[in-house]
């Protein structure tokens, strides 16, 4: 059991990193990876939402969709509805309860609704037949993987400010190239865990 959970984490952080090998969450990856501080904030916020989503998705799937035979066509709608509401709810609650926390990462919360990692995790959980604990861990792993990608990229991008990148490649282009090289490096983990 523990071993499986470990594999889920390693799998989603390193081997099949959500950004570098599953191509998910690229827009926020591009958008908020220019400063390490914001990257860490965004990563934490996303991990938090992902974990909650994973749990919610598990319950909806197994207690509403499957029992009523709705899974094939209501999955997307119900998941996304839950995510959007959840994000908005969390945002409001955080703002009220701890303005400090809100300042730290509240500003990223609205962005998370459209982060496709979140919906993807929700959709992958039923597909992979994960139980509750596995689902939760999967959510955490996805978040950590995303955070790792953000932190690595933001570190490099902060250094890039001092680099003489050709004009045409400035901005997203060099970020993509760097992401490509990072993806190449992450292939080194290929075959690390049985999937």
């Amino acid at each position: 059991m523990l071993k499986e959970l470990f594999f889920i984490i390693i799998g989603s952080v390193l081997v099949n990193n959500f950004v570098f090998s599953r191509f998910l969450g690229n827009c926020p990856f591009l958008g908020v990876s220019s400063k390490t501080e914001t990257a860490v904030g965004m990563g934490m916020a996303t991990t938090f939402v992902l974990t909650m989503t994973a749990v919610a998705a598990y319950f909806i799937q197994n207690f509403i969709l499957v029992p009523f035979g709705l899974a094939p066509f209501l999955q997307i709608v119900s998941f996304i509805l839950v995510i959007a509401s959840l994000v908005q709810l969390v945002e409001m609650v955080v703002l009220k309860i701890s303005p400090a926390l809100y300042n730290a990462f509240g500003i990223y919360l609205p962005l998370i609704t459209t982060n496709c990692i979140v919906l993807a995790v929700a959709l992958l959980i039923p597909q992979k037949n994960y139980n509750l604990i596995e689902s939760t861990i999967f959510g955490v792993g996805a978040g950590l993987g995303f955070t790792l990608a953000l932190i690595l990229m933001s570190g490099i991008r902060e250094d890039l400010e001092f680099s003489d990148v050709p004009d045409a490649l400035k901005g997203p282009a060099i970020v993509f190239i760097t992401a490509g090289l990072l993806a190449m490096i992450f292939l080194g983990f290929a075959g690390l865990v049985p999937l």
């Binding site: 570098f20 090998s21 599953r22 191509f23 998910l24 969450g25 690229n26 827009c27 591009l30 094939p72 066509f73 209501l74 999955q75 997307i76 709608v77 996304i80 509805l81 959007a84 509401s85 908005q88 609205p110 609704t113 459209t114 982060n115 496709c116 979140v118 919906l119 993807a120 959709l123 992958l124 050709p166 004009d167 045409a168 490649l169 400035k170 901005g171 997203p172 282009a173 060099i174 970020v175 993509f176 190239i177 760097t178 992401a179 490509g180 090289l181 993806a183 190449m184 992450f186 292939l187």
Partner: protein, 203 residues
């Protein structure tokens, strides 16, 4: 009319979602291993985008701002599921390739971006023009990416062998290839954009 044409062409180049605005790129990276995937994904997104824009534009006055996002997203999700079911029913091989990325049209940033940023503020006609432009802009962009990756990675173009064994660079079909091709294409587009700006600038 000229306004509509402007709205339409905006997505094709000026604010091309992939190359200029650089948004909604997950699918553009993920499914672009072969030319036909690009076309199919492009059309699917255009369909969802147009339908959602129509509905959002029609409903814009009824929806209270606080539940705006959930409402838009339900609309989008509905159309996406329809595409999903449709592809499953009629194009199973394609469906298998695109896998999870069809459902993910819901969260494709382009759709919500246009729903929020354009359709919720503009008239029906303009919303349609914009959605079509954006959709097709997305479609040509990812088709281009697909073609590059297919030619370099498999040596084929829409499944037809064009390069023989000369370009059988596995990396192009893998994630790094996607990012690298994307980066280089965005760079080229920047160069083109800059040139055209320079030409129209006064001296």
């Amino acid at each position: 009319m000229t306004q509509l044409i402007k709205d339409f062409t905006n997505g094709l180049w000026n604010e091309n979602p992939i190359f200029r605005a650089v948004i909604g790129i997950c699918s553009a990276l993920a499914v672009t291993t072969a030319g036909q995937n690009g076309i199919a994904m492009g059309l699917a997104l255009t369909f969802v985008l147009t339908c959602s824009s129509i509905l959002v534009s029609l409903l814009r006055s009824i929806i209270p701002p606080k539940v705006r996002i959930p409402c838009y997203i339900i609309v989008i999700a509905t159309f996406t599921t329809m595409v999903d079911l449709f592809m499953k029913a009629y194009f199973p091989p394609l469906y298998q390739v695109m896998g999870i990325f069809i459902p993910l049209i819901v969260v494709n940033c382009i759709v919500l971006w246009r729903a929020e940023g354009f359709a919720s503020k503009a008239s029906l006609a303009r919303s349609i023009a914009d959605a079509l432009g954006m959709g097709l802009g997305y479609a040509w962009a990812i088709t281009l990416i697909s073609i590059v990756r297919e030619v370099l990675g498999s040596g084929t173009l829409f499944g037809i062998n064009v390069m023989g064994q000369a370009t059988h660079w596995v990396i192009m079909l893998l994630p790094p290839g996607a990012f690298l091709v994307m980066g280089i294409l965005v760079g080229i587009m920047n160069m083109i954009a800059r040139k055209s700006v320079k030409n129209t600038h006064c001296h």
